[in-house]
Amino acid sequence: MAKYLLKRILYMILTLFVVATATFFLMKLMPGSPYANEAKMTPTQLKIMNEQYGLNKPVWLQYLIYIGGMLHGNFGTSFQYSNQPVSSLIASRLGASCQLGLQALILGVVLGVIIGAIAAMRQGTWVDSTATVFAIIGKSVPNFVLAVLLQYYIGLKLGWFPIAGWGQFSETILPTIALAVGPLAETARFIRTSMVDTLSSDYIELGKAKGLSRIEVIRKHAMRNSVIPLVTLIGPYAVALMTGSMVIENIFNIPGIGEQFVKSILTNDYPTIMGITMVYCIGLVIVLLITDIVYGLIDPRIRLAGNED
């Protein structure tokens, strides 16, 4: 296990390094400068600004300086927000995206598993068809459409929850629902298929024959085996949800990181682009590692480090 972990961590560092390098050089290929009023600046001003931001140096040197800084936890200063360190910019924005993503993930997956399981248990009945239709709608309706509808009907017309904003728990409910519907539908579909498979297995029949109750069979045998493949699905979901959705963040006025990322690209805010990319990437590799470890833990058939005989 330790050997496996060490190997994985080395791979992770390599991945981060490759992503940092590729992003850095691709970013430098983007046309335009990070300055808002370049045409009105004198050559001296441009020179001084380039010196201050280190943009006067050759790109390879800028790259080395950046990587050096990053290793010391220094992501530089944002061009767009004057004098704002990128690390504090990310820190202040990541929390909201993470919270929202986590809530949506939990809601979506838990409800998805329940709905999927019920549909599988009632296979071929109206319950199953309803769940399937629901899953198809959930998967095909974009979350921003749902967000706008929720906001108008539940927020404005019924007044049950705040229309937009961030700070109180009640303000997180509508965006959580909007974000959760996609994973919910996918999870439900996934669980249904995998459970229908499991339910027709011999050991389930054996369990039933031994006189176990229906609930007991589902809970102890069918569910556990059906949920395993879901772990593969949850990893990328977790990253996708927690790194923020620009559209949902904009609709509900959430100070998240998703919108900031897009804006940094549009304004050539190099340090912010790099900083957020690295945070995303770190999140993704960590989640993938955890997924693999969890996989091994819940399913003893999966070995993490080769043959242990």
């Binding site: 009105k40 004098n83 202040s92 927020g155 229309i163 961030w166 904009n250 609709i251 900031q260 549009l266």
Partner: protein, 545 residues
């Protein structure tokens, strides 16, 4: 076992229902804002900084306009209103200005506002090391250009403190719009003690600032989407300030802000094009006209026929500006002048009325027949039967819609002309603009201050913004003359003539003046909106019952 499971489920449902009910209650009970002198306003993007010497965006300048104060403030229609200066003396040649400061003006930290604060602020802004991207507005103040170019020390700038309450400003040349500039927050004083104390953090959050204007800012942390402006207890004219609090939020989706407006959580909401159409005429519907113009820059530097005047005239007259303005949405107005209307009143008339004559109007009016005739002439002069050009535009919705509308107008009315569209992110398009790497550029300009020179100066031959490389000696001469004359009527004449030339020669092809449609709660009174520079001033705004 079975019973247990059901019991848990029932209990869970009950708790869930209670929680829902509770949150519903709490959200419903916090919606009373009326009658109190509190309003909730919105911006469409975040504050990028509060350091007036370095910020460039309108949200930040709107904040600074309400929290800082220079020699003057700008009232309705950019009317000069008293600020920190109580008296202004101007020398006969217009080059020496002496501002006498009020003695009761204080910073929010209790320090008096003195002449030194102005000197410090101005020197700091023009110092190239400060990285001000707006320092060009100091051009014309003695030595400013040389300092910005790094050739002289910032201490040589034409501003001096004469004692604690007198500031002497020396100009290289007369600046006819100097008073307007003095109302822009860029020229406000800065508290040296605070700038030095906070160092790099100065202006990066509400708490790292001191203010001398009607309001102080609270709760802005540097990147968040909500904050407040609260009445400044140390402000010299606090009796005139009625509002106690302005709650600000950043709204990026028009449907959200309008929902919040309807729920009473916002007092002003920008509308989407669709909502603007359906709400037009309702109580609260307000059109805010910015001092801006969208136009085509037709590149004269490339040897591809665009230098042909008849071709440019044909292009201009083949564009249906009314259709274009409505296709883009909002409350945009078709443009027949380069300068935006509503900026300056000259002898009781809008300045743009001086510009318009039958020729300029005809050239900016949709006339397919004449356009065809000009196009025919152009093809003959160029010895070609077909032409093809690409319009460069930004990749936002409005720009793309505008480009498509122009493309269909041109291809439909000018047979033999093929128009392609190349849309890209703003920064990329702008860098192409600066490099002159375009054929036709769909872009625009918003005035820095409410004077037509803001539009005209940039099209003179050597201006760094003259990306289309249009050049006309007479035009250059008139713009230069407008800057030196001491007679204001002569100045307006010069500017209007220059603008007639640029339209007649199609140095740029004006398309429309951008305006945004808002719902503003009718109980909110006296909010000053100016289309150029910093837009809002809440100093004398108030709420009626």
């Amino acid at each position: 076992m079975k019973l247990n499971w059901k019991r848990w489920l029932a209990a869970g449902l009950a708790v869930g229902a209670c929680a829902l009910a509770l949150t519903a209650c709490s959200s419903g009970s916090s919606s009373s804002t009326s009658a109190k002198q509190t309003i909730s306003w919105m911006e469409t993007s975040e504050i990028e900084g509060m350091d007036q010497s370095v910020v460039t965006d309108s949200t930040s300048f709107n904040q600074l306009n309400n929290t800082m104060e220079g020699f003057y403030r700008l009232g309705k229609n950019s009317k000069i209103e008293p600020g920190i200066a109580t008296k202004t003396t101007v020398s006969k040649d217009g080059k020496t200005w002496i501002f006498t400061l009020r003695k009761n003006a204080k910073w929010s930290n209790g320090d008096p506002v003195t002449a030194k604060d102005f000197v410090y602020s101005w020197r700091r802004t023009v110092n190239p090391k400060t990285n001000s991207q707006y320092s060009y507005l100091f051009s014309g103040i003695k030595n400013a250009d040389a300092i910005i170019a790094g050739k002289k020390s910032a201490n040589t700038l034409g501003i001096q403190a004469e004692g604690n309450y007198k500031v002497k400003v020396t100009l290289d040349k007369r600046i006819p719009y100097f008073k307007l500039l003095m109302g822009f927050p860029l020229f406000a004083p800065e508290n040296e003690k605070a700038v030095k104390k906070f160092g790099k953090k100065y202006g990066t959050a509400s708490k790292y600032m001191v203010y001398d204007g009607p309001f102080v800012q609270k709760g802005w942390t540097g990147t968040n989407l909500t904050w407040k402006l609260v009445k400044n207890k140390n402000y010299w004219d606090k009796k005139a300030v009625k509002l106690q609090t302005i709650n600000y939020s950043v709204q990026k989706t028009p449907s959200t802000d309008y929902n919040l407006y309807q729920a009473g959580k916002l007092d002003a909401a920008i509308l989407s094009a669709q909502a603007a159409k359906s709400l037009k005429g309702q109580s609260g519907y307000t059109v805010l006209q910015t001092s801006s113009t969208q136009y085509l820059e037709i590149n004269q530097a490339k040897n591809n026929g665009l230098k042909n005047l008849n071709l440019r005239k044909a292009i201009s007259m083949a564009i249906d500006r009314k259709g274009l303005a409505s296709a883009v949405g909002g409350a945009n107005k078709p443009a027949t002048t380069l300068s935006a209307p509503g900026m300056t009143i000259v002898n009781g008339k809008d300045y743009t009325d001086l510009v318009q004559n039958s020729q300029t109007k005809a050239l900016c009016t949709y006339n397919p027949t004449k356009a065809k005739a000009y196009f025919k002439k152009a093809l003959k002069e160029l010895g070609k039967s077909k032409l093809s050009y690409t319009i460069l535009c930004y990749d936002d919705d409005a720009s793309k819609k505008a480009a498509e509308s122009i493309q269909s107008n041109l291809e439909e009315n000018l047979k033999g002309l093929t128009v392609n569209i190349s849309s890209m992110p703003k920064k990329s398009a702008l860098s192409r603009g600066v490099a002159g790497n375009f054929e036709i550029f769909l872009t625009g300009w918003q005035a820095d201050f409410n004077d037509p020179i803001s539009f005209l100066d940039m099209n003179t031959t050597n201006n760094s913004y003259n990306w289309q490389k249009w050049s006309n000696k007479q035009y250059d001469k008139l713009v230069a003359a407008s800057k030196t004359t001491s007679s204001s009527s002569q100045r307006w004449n010069d500017l209007a003539k220059a603008e007639q030339i640029i339209i007649e020669q199609q140095g740029v092809t004006p398309l429309y003046h951008a305006a945004s449609a808002w719902m503003i709660r009718p109980s909110v009174k006296n909010v000053v909106f100016n289309g150029a520079g910093a837009n809002y001033d809440f100093k004398t705004a108030y709420v009626t019952k």
